[in-house]
Symmetry: C2
DNA sequence: GTCTATATGGAGATAGAC
DNA sequence: GTCTATCTCCATATAGAC
């Protein structure tokens, strides 16, 4: 195994991928060593507290990425619709249409939940809050924006689960399509008037 | 450890709970023994192939429960709206408003996905198909029913993830409330006219 | 059918040479 | 910083007495 990383930060991306693919318990030090190209010696040099510290470092990096690429534009973008569209696009790329697991979501469901409770909670609260802020700037009232934000974030998590279960990325992409409508934006960024939204066009009951 | 179970089937419910709470890898034989009141000897007597066989037995039982309590009513209920409402109610009780994990969903995200791929896939396909059938009998067209069904099942999975992440069952319950609207039924079973659905009542953009 | 004892492997983590 | 060797523990699984 040739030397390829000599800095702690260089290992984070590989670590993230191993934990996503194998989960916290499933990611053994052997696996981690293979993925990062680091021996146990180096691993414990960089992360003295072992796996727990590695996951914390990964979660911090994930948080930073979402802050820069998603939350911040949602909160501060001058064009709220563009920010929402961008969130949907970035999310699709990031999760690779459901082929890639959300580590935070996975940890939330696993038995390790308590260990990382704060980070997990922070991640989702920041997401929902930021989205809500964009929806309010779209002109929605606060309560409706809250409901919609929660609903959108949860739909993305569910889309990952279902698309993996069915092994079909199209499931994820359809879910994102639904969110475009529900959040009042189209894939190209054009706003859909509320009166014309297809979701309301169900056939009447008999 | 006093004798309390003497039949394989008596252990399944306890097994299901351990796997839900600790995941496949996290559920050690020691934990399983405690939960079921069975020693390793008995465990391997009932499940010669070990944990994998235990999970398969649990998945079969889960499938049976959903078939009887959810899928079958959705497919064959004379009142489609009542069946949909019942699904939402039963689901809320079953997952304890998100306090209880969906084992199938958890397995779909975990690294053990491939091992149980068939069962995972079957569970979700049956759910989406059954719900679609009820929505078609509500009078919706097939395509729209398909989209909505997929969306509803995925929302339930996402609601579990998010409500656990925020440690707040109200998140799950609000998601179910949204589904009542989206699926055209109210909590009490009364149909909401499409023209009056609050989801369409967002304020216009500026 | 249930128990205890045991085999065997791999886990996380540490020590100390280089 | 990185390596190898090693410690200790607990995992799954098996064997055989009762």
């Amino acid at each position: 195994m040739a030397r390829m990383v000599a800095e702690r930060s260089d290992a984070i991306a590989s670590l993230a991928e191993v934990f996503r693919e194998h989960g916290y318990e499933g990611a053994s030090l052997a696996l981690i060593g293979k993925a990062t190209g680091l021996g146990k010696g180096s691993l414990y040099h960089f992360f003295p507290k072992g796996k727990e510290e590695m996951v914390r470092a990964v979660l911090a990096e994930i948080d930073q990425w979402f802050e820069d690429s998603v939350y911040s534009p949602l909160r501060e973008g001058t064009d709220a619709n563009a920010a929402v569209t961008s969130m949907l696009d970035e999310t699709t790329k990031y999760f690779r249409s459901g082929r890639r697991v959300c580590l935070v979501g996975a940890l939330a469901v696993a038995n390790t939940r308590d260990l990382f409770a704060q980070a997990i909670r922070g991640y989702f609260i920041a997401w929902v809050d930021a989205l809500q802020s964009a929806l309010v700037r779209q002109g929605r009232d606060v309560e409706q924006a809250r409901l919609l934000s929660e609903d959108a974030v949860l739909a993305i998590q569910g889309a990952i689960v279902l698309s993996r279960a069915l092994d079909d990325p199209a499931v994820f992409e359809r879910a994102i399509g639904q969110l475009h409508k529900r959040l009042g934006v189209e894939a190209n960024g054009i706003v859909v008037p509320a009166t014309a939204r297809p979701e309301g066009s169900i056939t009447p009951f008999r």
